[in-house]
């Protein structure tokens, strides 16, 4: 009968924050490269983001 928050320690919380930031960075990097690829493939008005 313990909520996940009750047993979560500082180390686990910190690791979650790091992973979230890393994921965000990877996504932004992917979006940027995909944007350039779409520019090469389509007209600017048809560009979509990943």
């Amino acid at each position: 009968k313990t909520s996940p928050l009750l047993v979560k320690d500082k180390v686990a919380t910190q690791e979650e924050r790091r992973l979230r930031a890393l994921e965000d960075q990877k996504k932004r990097r992917r979006d940027l490269t995909m944007h350039a690829r779409n520019l090469a493939l389509y007209k600017p008005t048809e560009v979509f983001s990943d």
């Binding site: 009968k1 313990t2 909520s3 996940p4 928050l5 009750l6 047993v7 979560k8 500082k10 919380t13 910190q14 924050r17 790091r18 930031a21 890393l22 965000d24 960075q25 932004r28 990097r29 992917r30 940027l32 490269t33 995909m34 350039a36 690829r37 779409n38 090469a40 493939l41 990943d50």
Partner: protein
């Protein structure tokens, strides 16, 4: 000592002397010490080392555990030794005759007149079930079933606890087997092991006992205690996951009969039973019951008993997390949120449970990528945030209540709809004010505990701030100066080793995305802290975040980052060579090269030679056969980093019209792609990046310079994988479509 010496062939007569002790001495104390030693030795050394003596060891141990042994202390020591030796005697246990004898001795020991022997015997049965589940069918039918049901009713709690643990172990094993069966079915294979469905068969016998045990709470139990009602709750929850729908019908009458009982123990047990069965059974079977129970549970958040309120808050958390579809926004949400907000004023445990429930509601109703104009929590958003902010003002973090409240605010912000933005903007000011206060209070901190609490508080505040910035994006711009001023003071006061720096850096990373090129205004002031973190090799997590931040800054500043790139590149290259820096930072450095190349395009020319050399060097890293999982993960991360670097460099130089500089490295790149493709350790991310890189190269060299490379067998295979593998996510298929088109264009050149 034996754990060190026996594996290297020393102290070969140790076991001979120990076994002599058992057979020749009349001194019980010597027997007990010897049995304890034998148990520890068996546990500590690989079983093949004493394989030749395992029969003699087993005989000595089991003879001490028999019912004929008059001294119960000796018997208990022998059973404990057997417990420790259970893995060691695997070969003996495989033989039916020996197994029968061992099981008989352990089962008889559960009936000893000495309760300590009984406890040890039940502990042994738990371990046997864990290790030898597959062999237990016969013994379950003949003895274990009856013994353990009786054991659960034992008046001595230590025995009852082990008997309940036995059934929790059965459920654990059968849940594992269920997972294995699903995985086997998915891959069209037969599972290696089969479930005997002991839990389902035993349900009518063990369920009433578990429900009865739920009412045996210890009124004064604190967080670290473990008692029979807690064990029964855990077992019931595992049982529900294991037997699924079958648990519901027999539990509901217990809940209905006791939920309004005068005695708090029965009310608490009823709520506990209800909360425990929410995971496992089909949702449609539970939906109606949850619907009926919700108003009662909401009301019980005002129960006079703290234990009842605690369990009710936990159950509401379970409902919010597992059965959100049962919460009807127009019927339940108002009273539910009122009850949860009311709970935020209660004891720290209840606060944590209420935060968990509120976070689950936010997660499930909240918008993910693009925020909706409104959502079901919008009418309550400001009220919840205000109540949580009050909770965070508590002076201590008992039961994680303060951290839970901050985490809950972060999650609420992440899920918020557009109509809650004004509240989030007000929250921004509150959080910055609080962060400022903690910085001002920095000098008044005395003692390690206070320092740690202070650092955790600053981390929590930074984390909320990061969530706010990520959510508001460009709307955070009016606050950017204040945020950066506060963060810079935070960095100048934080100690080198505190995690506050990490969380502050994450907030800066979020700011770069929000303000983009305007970040240049802060870079001069921020750079010294960034360089210090990059050189702080002992704190590799901080260093890793700092490396990521360089990428963030380059993405935000684009060519404006050029004046800083020499320093960035020097520090990154130094870090790659550092023997002290944790290797896990290195893949991020490689990715960062790609970020820099993308930002400064053709100006990356000056770094090209050295970076290509580094990438070639990193490409030689392989995980050999039988290597550790850690090493395999590292090599995968390294290859992901190399690919991200190549993608950034190819795209950057192409944009800067300097792609021809790459021609002397083409063989290096394709050799790396070929090697990576032929390694079976490939992630989806690696496949996607490989396809993308092939496309980038094709786009950069449209005049047929790479035609022979595009015709190679592995390139066709990579592109085919992207086209035909239906399990790849949409993003990869999209990259694949694009790459095929580019390769087609680069391969059909009109000369």
């Amino acid at each position: 000592i034996s754990a060190i010496e026996l594996p290297v062939g020393q102290w070969t007569d140790l076991m001979k002397h120990l076994l002599e002790n058992i057979t020749t001495t009349d001194k019980d104390s010597l027997k007990i010490s010897t049995l304890i030693t034998i148990g520890f030795v068996c546990e500590a050394i690989p079983s093949d080392i004493l394989a030749a003596q395992s029969g003699a060891i087993l005989t000595a141990v089991v003879s001490g555990a028999r019912k004929e042994e008059p001294n119960q202390e000796v018997r208990k020591a022998a059973i404990n030794a057997l417990y420790n030796a259970l893995e060691f005697i695997r070969e003996n246990f495989e033989r039916e005759g020996e197994r029968n004898y061992i099981m008989q001795v352990v089962c008889e020991a559960t009936q000893s007149s000495d309760v300590n022997v009984q406890v040890s015997a039940f502990e042994c049965l738990v371990r046997i079930m864990q290790i030898y589940y597959d062999k237990m069918r016969f013994y379950m039918e003949k003895a274990l079933f009856g013994l353990t049901v009786l054991g659960m009713k034992h008046e001595d709690e230590r025995v009852a606890l082990q008997a309940v643990e036995f059934w929790s172990t059965v459920c654990d094993e059968e849940l594992e087997l269920m997972t294995e069966a699903v995985e086997a079915q998915e891959s069209g294979e037969q599972p290696d092991r089969l479930s005997h469905n002991f839990a389902k068969a035993a349900l009518p016998e063990i369920l009433p006992v578990l429900l009865w045990l739920l009412t045996k709470q210890d009124e004064d139990a604190d967080e670290d205690d473990w008692n029979v009602s807690m064990a029964a709750g855990t077992c019931l929850s595992l049982l529900a996951q294991c037997v699924e729908d079958a648990v519901v019908a027999p539990v509901i009458p217990f809940v209905e009969n006791h939920i309004r009982h005068n005695d708090w123990r029965f009310r608490e047990a009823a709520v506990m039973a209800f909360g425990s069965i929410l995971e496992g059974p089909e949702h449609k079977l539970l939906a109606n019951l949850v619907n009926q129970a919700l108003p009662v549970l909401i009301e019980m958040m005002r129960d006079p008993s703290p234990q009842v309120k605690d369990t009710t808050a936990w159950t509401l958390g379970r409902v919010s997390e597992l059965l959100i579809e049962c919460i009807k926004p127009d019927v339940h949400l108002n009273p539910l949120i009122t009850a949860l907000v009311f709970g935020l004023k209660d004891s720290p445990r209840i606060v944590s449970n209420c935060c968990w429930a509120l976070m689950s509601l936010s997660d499930q109703y909240g918008g993910k990528e693009t925020p909706a104009s409104t959502y079901p929590l919008s009418p309550y958003f400001e009220g919840i945030v205000t109540a949580l902010l009050e909770t965070t003002e508590r002076p201590t973090n008992e039961s994680n209540a303060r951290t839970s409240s901050y985490e809950c605010i972060s999650i609420l912000v992440q899920g918020a709809a557009l109509d809650s933005y004004p509240t989030i903007q007000k929250l921004t000011i509150t959080i910055i004010d609080r962060l400022d206060s903690t910085i001002q209070a920095q000098n008044q901190i005395i003692g390690t505990d206070e320092r740690m609490a202070h650092s955790e508080l600053q981390s929590n505040l930074c984390s909320v701030l990061t969530s706010i910035i990520r959510k508001l994006r460009s709307e955070v711009v009016p606050f950017a100066d204040r945020i950066m001023t506060t963060l810079l003071s935070l960095f100048s006061t934080a100690t080198k080793h505190s995690t506050t720096l990490e969380d502050g850096f994450l907030a800066v990373g979020a700011i770069t995305t929000a303000v983009e090129g305007d970040f240049v205004r802060y870079l001069e002031a921020f750079a010294p802290f960034l360089y210090a973190a990059l050189s702080n090799h002992e704190e590799y997590q901080l260093c890793s975040i700092a490396v990521g931040l360089i990428g963030d800054i380059c993405r935000a500043l684009q060519e404006q980052s050029l004046p800083y790139c020499d320093t960035f590149m020097n520090v990154l290259l130094q870090n790659l060579q550092s023997p002290v820096l944790n290797r896990n930072v290195k893949p991020a450095i490689l990715s960062c090269f790609g970020d820099i190349a993308l930002a400064i395009s053709g100006r990356f020319e000056v770094y090209l030679e050295v970076v290509m050399m580094v990438l070639a060097q990193a490409s030689t890293m392989r995980a050999s056969e039988g290597t550790s999982y850690d090493m395999i993960d590292y090599v995968i991360a390294l290859r992901e980093g190399i690919l991200e670097a190549y993608v950034g460099i190819v795209q950057g130089l192409k944009t800067g019209e300097k792609a021809e500089l790459l021609l002397r490295y083409i063989e290096q790149i394709f050799n790396f792609l070929n090697m990576t493709w032929n390694d079976h350790e490939k992630t989806e991310m690696i496949i996607r990046s490989m396809i993308g890189l092939i496309g980038d190269l094709a786009e950069a060299f449209q005049s047929g310079q790479l035609q022979q490379w595009f015709q190679s067998e592995f390139v066709s295979q990579v592109l085919k994988e992207g086209r035909n593998n239906r399990s790849l996510p949409n993003g990869t298929r999209e990259v694949s479509r694009w790459a095929r088109e580019m390769v087609k264009r680069a391969s059909h050149i009109k000369h």
